[in-house]
């Protein structure tokens, strides 16, 4: 998933709180907003993430929960998480019809799922 363009940015200040955050910029052509949001959710124990669309990019500002958090570690952590989420989203989309088929087959023979009335 090295195609994902996570470009280390600089230091930004949250307009809401004045808290200093760390920015990362992702190319909208290679990273879905869905993957970014899933990534932000998954790292919530370590940081909160502000995501904004700017031109052809998504600008993510990372706010560490711990006072002693290392900025570079957070960048790597979030970028790695987003890369994984990009792959997960891709696999999920690619396999969704088969997943639905397996569930339909599984429950069609249990009596739990009612057959649709063709009328």
């Amino acid at each position: 998933m090295s195609r994902v363009a996570g470009i280390p940015g600089g230091v930004a200040e949250s307009a809401d709180t004045g808290t200093v955050g760390i920015t990362l910029v992702f190319d909208q052509a290679t990273v879905d907003l869905d993957a970014l949001q899933r990534g932000a959710y998954a790292v919530a124990a370590e940081m909160t993430v502000d995501i904004r669309a700017r031109g052809a990019d998504y600008v993510c500002t990372l706010f560490p929960r711990g006072r002693d958090a290392d900025g570079e570690d957070l960048r790597h952590r979030f970028r790695a998480e987003v890369n994984d989420q990009v792959l997960r989203v891709r696999i999920a989309k690619e396999t969704e019809p088969l997943r639905n088929l397996v569930f339909a087959l599984a429950f069609s023979q249990t009596g739990l799922a009612e057959a649709e009335d063709p009328a």
Partner: protein, 482 residues
């Protein structure tokens, strides 16, 4: 035969189709892939990328992925049909809800355990005993369950403080079962301090199993579990031996609760169990309910420290097995069945849909019905979210179709919850709406912040690493899974 044919068929680049799969990075150079039913294969990060991108040329790896229903050749239909059969097998318990019925026959208890999860009452307060009228109505509801297997578990307080009712319920259940013909079993959850010959005789006649508490060595146990005379450990050990001699070694099991004092003493705890001839130990963290968090007995440790304790305990259990002493870590054995077979063990804390209500119902001494024992504990703290009704004015349909049950069930399904739905460990894990409600105020919780999630993810990853790296452990897990 199918596997041999598959292995003989080379797949060209881009010549396979991904089946629904999820992945988790175990280490820097190891990833586990799981399919819809939890069958798994270990790969490297590079192999994951190559398989997902269609560029993998390693035919041996592709054959393993194909055998584990993680990929299929274009046009194949058998893998999806087999996955559907396995999925249906894993969920076959659902139509046969509810197998476990917990009767809280009294809240009285002569122990004052530091971590007690229930609202115990002094031994003289008989108004906290269940009555025959309430018990009869609870039994009528229990027998409405479609499950062919009914297990009636007597809890308290200390249930032996209301032994006459316990005996009445057992006899009455046997009488009612003559009509229903269910596979009926009984278990008493007791501290064993009140065990006597009359009770032992009754347990022998009725084939009642005993579940007790043993926190490990004497000083640790008695420090946690206090009673007049400070002899809880002596009473428990003597009781375990009496039950083993009178009823048989396999008719008594024990549970331990991890307090801060337990940390660092995992091997001693396991050895205390082995010394008593107990074949199983369940390494359990403290629960965030009832008296446990209100008093000093609160956990006092975080998930990472508990995981260190768990790993040390598991290592000791494995060492004993290597030395020829059969011993099972029960949590690992439950997960082994989920990881290595398609039969779900029906463990209520690792089930999705959650095990509340459909796995177990709790009848409190006053007739109130709860979706789980933890739900009852929350009620004792003033939160009646999981109260489903009362035996005296609720029908079976009222209970099982109540919003108090259906809302947490539908709100916590792991196949639709954020992070769970894409988690490689989802087939092994479960929803715990009571825990998340108790700790975060909603049934779903935020999994990145959830101690339930961190603890179980830690255990799953630990077990998978050991399965990957240690052939003896893998074989042991296979034995436990049977």
């Amino acid at each position: 035969m199918i596997k041999l044919e598959q292995a003989a068929t080379a797949l060209p680049a881009h010549g396979w189709q991904l089946l629904p799969l999820r992945f988790h990075r175990l280490d820097a150079d190891s990833v586990v892939l799981t399919n819809l039913v939890g069958e798994h294969v270990f790969v490297t990060p590079g192999e994951l990328t190559a398989v997902a991108d269609g560029t993998c040329t390693d035919q041996e790896l592709l054959a393993r992925l194909r055998a584990a229903h993680l990929i299929q050749a274009p046009g194949e239909t058998l893998p999806t049909e087999l996955l559907a059969i396995k999925l249906r097998t894993r969920m076959r318990r659902l139509p046969d809800s509810t197998g476990l019925h917990i009767f809280v026959v009294t809240l009285r208890c002569e122990h004052t355990c530091r971590y007690c999860q229930v609202s115990r009452q002094p031994t003289a307060k008989s108004e906290f005993d269940m009555t025959e009228q309430t018990a009869r109505r609870a039994l009528e509801l229990a027998f409405r369950s479609p499950s062919p297997h009914l297990k009636i578990e007597f809890q308290g307080g200390e249930p032996l403080l209301n032994f006459p009712l316990l005996r009445w319920i057992t006899t009455e259940a046997r009488r009612m079962n003559a009509e229903h013909g269910k596979d009926l079993a009984f278990v008493i959850a007791t501290n064993l301090a009140l065990l006597d010959e009359e009770i032992l005789d009754f347990c022998a006649e009725e084939r009642i199993d005993i579940s007790t508490s043993l926190d490990g060595p004497q000083d640790l146990h008695n420090g946690n579990r206090r009673r007049p005379g400070r002899d809880s450990w002596q009473q428990a050990v003597a009781g375990i031996r009496r039950v083993q001699e009178r009823l048989g070694a396999d008719r008594v099991s024990a549970l331990m609760t991890t307090t801060e004092a337990s940390l660092g003493r995992a091997a001693e705890i396991i050895d205390a169990y082995a010394g008593l001839g107990l074949r199983g130990v369940f390494l359990r963290p403290i629960s965030p309910y009832g008296f446990a968090l209100r008093r000093r007995g609160g956990a006092g440790y975080d998930v990472s420290r508990w995981l260190e304790f768990y790993e040390a305990g598991l290592e000791r259990v494995v060492d004993l097995n290597r030395q020829g002493v059969p011993m099972v870590e029960i949590y690992a054995s439950i997960i082994a069945r989920k990881m290595l077979t398609n039969t779900d063990p029906g463990y209520v804390d690792l089930a999705s849909p959650a095990g509340i209500g459909i796995g177990a119902l709790v009848y409190n001494y006053d007739g109130d019905i709860y979706a789980s024992d933890e739900g009852r504990m929350l009620a004792e703290m003033g939160d009646r979210t999981f109260r489903l009704g009362n035996v005296h004015d609720s029908s079976y349909a009222d209970v099982m179709l109540s919003d108090a049950l259906l809302d947490p069930l539908t709100g916590s399904l792991t196949l639709s919850v954020p992070m769970c739905s894409t988690c490689a460990f989802e087939p092994y894990c479960g929803a715990d709406p009571v825990f998340h409600h108790a700790t975060t105020g909603d049934f779903t919780g935020h999994k990145a912040l959830s101690a339930f999630c961190q603890r179980n993810m830690g255990v799953f990853a630990l077990l998978l690493r050991k399965i990957r790296d240690d052939r003896y452990f893998r074989d042991l897990m296979w034995r436990w899974a049977q």
